[in-house]
């Protein structure tokens, strides 16, 4: 059934920033910190994520022109929100950090948002996309989510599905107005929230009756896919993290599906897609774009900046890690804000600086907090999964990938098929 409850965005008061108040800043030092899951279920997320942040700050501190060095403190919360909360309290009350940079985990972020707001502690980048991070326009709000919010992600995916001239007849037309859109979602934070966005958008378009929404689990993937295929959708949106997404792809392929698939930005990363030549097209939203046909080995310079930093800082094993990229973005967005601060660094000046105008996101587009916009990245590109074999020649992205000491030749990649666009732009409004 399609009876997915619509997640309500939590109404949180955003207190005004008291001017002058500041902690963690001295003439020679700015203290920042974060808590991340370094052990426990999401251990594999927190470790590379924090390592990248540390690498960026170390590089920054190494610069001679930097007087106020960044003192980065990071704690492990073992994927337990309540420990994450304790860590945040410790950071704020005992370590007296100036800001949180790179806040990891749905639970921890959810648990600490009220506290952060209450204490006016700026938070830059949340490694989750829960809907609580969506505030709309709230000037002075110290929360700066960067990553797209899951719900937005879902809305964009749906908008792409019905607007792009890709999924209709012959693959070069829009979907018919009565075409069916299948949604396969996982029953976790990402899956459910993305699905909620899809349903909301379908309702906005008065096409919710053409939605086929089904949830799947690891061990029911195959039968749910069978059932979905029996209903003949024209396009399938897969809402879920990497692992279930891959499972869905494999199941679809095993069952001989030919229906194109669209997925969340979470999965639009060549390094987390299993290499397999699927019998159908795979699309995904993207806010990070590391592919550049002109770049070295087919990757954009911004990617190489990241990769080289990781290698230089002794983290070569994370040179293609998506979570490390996220940490890299987090640290850089914070630094961009910092550099804009004019005069003395206080909470007020920092927030003003962050809101001063769009900030460039490394490897991605830009994020705009001006006028109090707090909805994460709301514009994304659409990419398509291509294979080396088919792309040689007309797809320079992967044409002459060379082997380096840490990257084996990419046999596949996501290639942009539609530029970074907001919902309005997608609809052509």
């Amino acid at each position: 059934g399609t009876s997915l409850p619509n997640l309500d965005v939590e109404e949180l008061d955003v207190p005004a920033v008291p001017s002058g108040l500041v902690q963690g800043v001295t003439a020679t030092e700015i203290k920042v910190g974060n808590t991340a899951s370094k052990t426990g279920v999401f251990g594999a997320v927190g470790v590379p994520f924090s390592a990248a942040i540390k690498a960026v700050f170390d590089a920054y501190n190494a610069r001679e022109d930097v007087i106020q060095k960044i003192n980065y403190i990071t704690y492990d919360d073992a994927t337990d929100p309540s420990i994450g909360q304790t860590n945040v309290k410790k950071l704020v009350e005992e370590d007296k950090v100036f800001a949180l940079v790179g806040h990891v985990g749905t639970g921890t972020v959810g648990a600490t948002l009220p506290y952060l707001l209450e204490n006016h502690i700026p938070m830059v980048y949340a490694a989750t996309g829960i809907n609580q991070l969506y505030f709309g326009d709230t000037p002075g709000n110290p929360i700066f989510a960067v990553q797209p919010i899951y719900k937005t992600d879902g809305r964009i995916a749906y908008a792409r599905a019905i607007n792009e001239k890709l999924f209709g007849a012959n693959g070069d037309q829009k979907l018919a107005s009565d075409a069916k859109v299948g949604v396969l979602y996982t029953n976790d934070d990402a899956g459910k929230s993305i699905a909620a966005g899809i349903i909301e958008e379908a309702k906005n378009q008065k096409r919710e009756n053409d939605l086929i929404v089904m949830s799947f689990l690891t061990d029911t993937t195959e039968s749910v896919v069978k059932s979905m295929m029996a209903k003949n959708p024209d396009v399938i949106i897969v809402a879920g993290n990497q692992a279930p997404f891959n499972e869905a792809l494999i199941a679809l392929d095993d069952q001989g599906s030919k229906t194109p698939v669209i997925t969340s930005y979470v999965n639009t990363n060549a390094s987390t897609i299993t290499v397999q030549e699927y019998g159908f097209d795979v699309y995904g939203s993207a806010w990070i774009d590391i592919v550049d046909p002109e770049g070295t080995a087919g990757f954009a310079q911004s990617y190489w900046d990241f990769a080289n930093l990781m290698i230089a800082s002794g983290n070569a094993q994370y040179a293609a890690n998506a979570f490390a990229m996220a940490g890299y973005v987090a640290a850089n967005v914070f630094l961009s804000g910092l550099q804009r601060v004019e005069g003395e660094l206080t909470f007020e000046t920092f927030i003003q600086a962050m809101e001063a105008g769009p900030i460039d996101v490394p490897m991605g587009g830009e994020i705009d907090f001006s006028d109090g916009k707090r909805w994460g990245i709301a514009s994304m590109a659409l990419s398509k999964l291509v294979y080396t074999a088919e792309s040689v020649g007309d797809n320079p992205a992967t044409a002459d990938v060379v082997e380096t000491d840490f990257v084996t030749p990419a046999s596949h990649a996501f290639v942009k098929v539609a530029g970074i666009q907001s919902l309005d732009e997608i609809y052509g409004r």
């Binding site: 061990d219 195959e222 039968s223 692992a243």
Partner: protein, 319 residues
């Protein structure tokens, strides 16, 4: 109807690794009277060992290792051996030396083992998740492959699409289980297991080498757990399909299968596993998204009616 049959049959085929895991749990339950929470973890170690042998450092670009069928087989064998001995060690080092622990205490001990392995895995194999390709992804249609492809094609003819991996894991599990059942039924080991299960002390007094029986049972369970873990993780053919925690849900499912079938026989739990897998698939489709809930409610209802499981026999207490 065709759809229904499709789901039932593919459910049965998919249940094979679960059946192995369930059998392993029951084997240990019967000899040591504990539900072994470490069962899944021991299997996980094997999966890590296999990934390590196939690809010592995890690949960064999402390429899964591409071993040949026989390379893969040898790596699996190594993994199974490792789990075999780890599991045996658990019995020899811990359980043999703690005769006075209550069943619940034993459960706690296995939990301790889970913690130790959980802690050691990232230290030994690194923090990043690792990957296993599907078994048979490189298998040609000649030789060994012909056998499996024959069945894949056979099913395809009646419009039931099953992957090669599923087919391989089904045959592997089914033959292992058959061997074990034959052993239990026709060798002294079987009687020893049953006697040990009933009362270890008395069995020992009657000349049953209960130490050997339990150690072997643990070892075999470890090996089975390893195979189950490898089959399950690799079935996903996904980057990062081998993580520290991936067996937890399977383990819970195996417990439930055992409960469903009843701990008092060996065949019961295996059938329980098949039923579990089939119902899981059916409910996942027909009660979406409440499949899991309905599944557990159903099992609960069955267990309430038959507290000892579908095939359970009560050991009567006579006063």
């Amino acid at each position: 109807m065709a759809f229904f049959i499709d789901i039932v049959i593919s459910g049965i085929l998919q249940s094979a690794p679960l059946a192995l895991a369930t059998f392993a749990i029951v084997l240990i339950f019967r000899t040591s009277f504990t539900t072994n929470f470490a069962q899944g973890m021991v299997g996980t170690v094997a999966a890590f060992v296999v990934t390590y042998l196939l690809m010592p450092s995890p690949d960064l670009t999402g390429l899964l290792p591409t071993p040949t069928f026989f390379q893969y087989l040898i790596a699996i064998l190594a993994g199974v051996v490792v789990s075999f001995f780890i599991s045996m060690l658990i019995d020899v080092l811990i359980f043999r030396n703690s005769k006075f622990i209550s069943p619940v205490g034993k459960q706690i001990v296995t939990m301790g083992v889970v913690l130790i392995i959980t802690g050691l895995l990232p230290i030994v194999f690194g923090i990043l998740d690792r990957s296993l390709p599907r078994i048979g992804s490189n298998l040609s249609r000649e030789g060994v492959g012909a056998f499996f492809y024959f069945f894949v094609d056979l099913f395809a003819k009646i419009n039931i699409r099953v992957g090669l991996h599923t087919m391989i894991s089904f045959f592997l599990s089914a033959s292992l289980l058959t061997i074990l059942f034959v052993m239990l039924r026709f060798t002294k080991w079987g009687l020893g297991v049953r006697a040990t299960a009933s009362n270890e002390k008395v069995a020992s007094m009657m000349g049953v080498n209960t130490k050997f029986i339990t150690a072997m049972s643990w070892a075999i369970a470890g090996g089975l757990g390893a195979i189950a873990a490898i089959l399950i993780s690799s079935s996903k053919n996904t980057f990062g399909n081998v993580t520290t925690y991936f067996m937890i849900s399977i383990q819970v499912q195996a417990f439930f299968s055992a409960i469903l079938g009843g701990f008092s026989t060996f065949y019961g739990p295996v059938i329980g596993a098949v039923i579990f897998a089939v119902l899981n698939n059916l409910f996942g489709v027909y009660f979406n998204p409440w499949g899991t809930t309905v599944l557990y409610l159903t099992i609960m209802a069955i267990v309430l009616v038959k507290p000892l499981g579908l095939f359970g026999k009560k050991i009567a207490k006579k006063v």
